[in-house]
Subunit: 244 residues, 2 copies
């Protein structure tokens, strides 16, 4: 048995035995100029659909690297069916939050514009790059999809009735979040975390009034939105996701 390659890259192309796939320019630069790998070296690749593959560098030049797909080393395994809904934060904190949600195995990242959302624009390409980077580094096989930003009202108006939305409510009485989560029936899930400063009172009321929402408390301290994201997703994974 050869050891599992430690370098792991996302390749946006179908993967199967013997197929040749091209890295993008950044990846070619990383493999050739940063890691100084040459033809014959092996890495792991995945595309979010076909599992993880051992691949050999067939050819590497400055901005170009061709890989040969050798054998599948992990079958495709999707994580739990959890959508993560969040008010975009600024800069580094948004990068961080997106990486964390991807590490926690969510299926879909959905920016939501709320009244107190501070980030004026959302760079979806950057969000996608952050999700891929986290998936590469954390052994995740499914890269979350990234949705176009939606206003909260629009999101709630078009919400599918069968997907339960867990609402991290800063204004809730402190109560055991695990009990509330365990009371939910299995099925598609979403977790929504508000902006720094929280949802405004009308937004809170709208969320509370939806038949598909369950409010949970994340304890007596106020957390930053990116911390609340990880905390809530950990609780959901442990009760309703794939942590057991």
């Amino acid at each position: 048995m050869t050891e599992k390659p430690s370098i792991r890259l996302f390749i946006d192309a179908p993967l199967s035995e013997g197929v040749a796939v091209a890295c993008n320019e950044d990846q070619a630069n990383y493999l050739g100029n940063v890691l100084r790998l040459s033809a014959g070296a092996e890495i792991a690749i995945f595309n979010g659909r076909d599992g993880e593959w051992r691949a050999r560098i067939a050819e590497i030049r400055k901005k170009r690297c061709m890989l040969e797909c050798l054998e599948r080393i992990r079958p495709q395994h999707d994580g739990p069916d959890i959508h993560y809904l969040f008010a975009p934060l600024k800069h580094a904190r948004l990068d961080y939050m997106v990486q964390k949600a991807a590490e926690l195995g969510v299926a879909h990242l959905q920016p939501v514009i709320t009244r107190r959302t501070v980030a004026a624009r959302v760079n979806l390409e950057r969000m996608r790059a952050n999700a891929i980077e986290a998936a590469e580094q954390c052994g995740v096989l499914r890269v979350p999809t990234v949705g176009e930003p939606l206003k909260l009202e629009a999101l709630l108006a078009q919400w599918p009735a069968d997907r339960q939305m867990i609402f991290c409510d800063e204004g809730a009485e402190v109560a055991n979040p695990l009990e509330a989560l365990r009371a939910l029936a299995p099925g598609p899930l979403a977790v929504i975390v508000g902006p720094e400063g929280g949802f405004d009172p009308t937004e809170r009321q709208a969320l509370q009034g939806c038949p598909f929402t369950t409010a949970i408390s994340l304890g007596p301290r106020i957390m930053r939105a990116d911390t609340a994201a990880v905390a809530a997703l950990a609780l959901v994974n442990a009760t309703l996701g794939d942590w057991h």
Copy 2:
């Protein structure tokens, strides 16, 4: 009722009604030059022991600001008795991890040197500043203490028998972490998270062999150490801490 002040600063001095306390130079600069507050403005202050107080700016100059302590607006409330033990990470990720642990209300931050720890030096002053910043922003009343770095062997050798250590074990079979946590008796706790790359096999064995440790799994995906920190502390707070 006057509204609660939105600015919240940590002041390392005894607080009681009518007492005069001095800000440090950074705080004076922040209040005077960044926020452009002048004498008479009110802020909230806390010292980690005497609760949270409304205070009035009595005098403000370039590098100096004196406050008058008016009335206590929150009694002192310590969070759960959880020590957070961690292999120091590099730079921004360490800042982030320390902030997160403080937001989650831990009592003590303990750097632990493991075989795979990459950070050569640990800046305790910077850790303390990060803990204070998180406490200021997140309404935490008790700033966690920061321990001198200890080697893992030394830490385990001198460990107090009555403090249960929850060990986030990447090598554990995926099993329900909540069940393992709920099986613990109430009492002082610690959570230990290894470095990027995990504990080495002898370290894992040493941890597993201690009578005071309980290994938990954080699911089938590998998380970065700072993500694991938040996830583990959220589960511990929800089962054994103060989230209910």
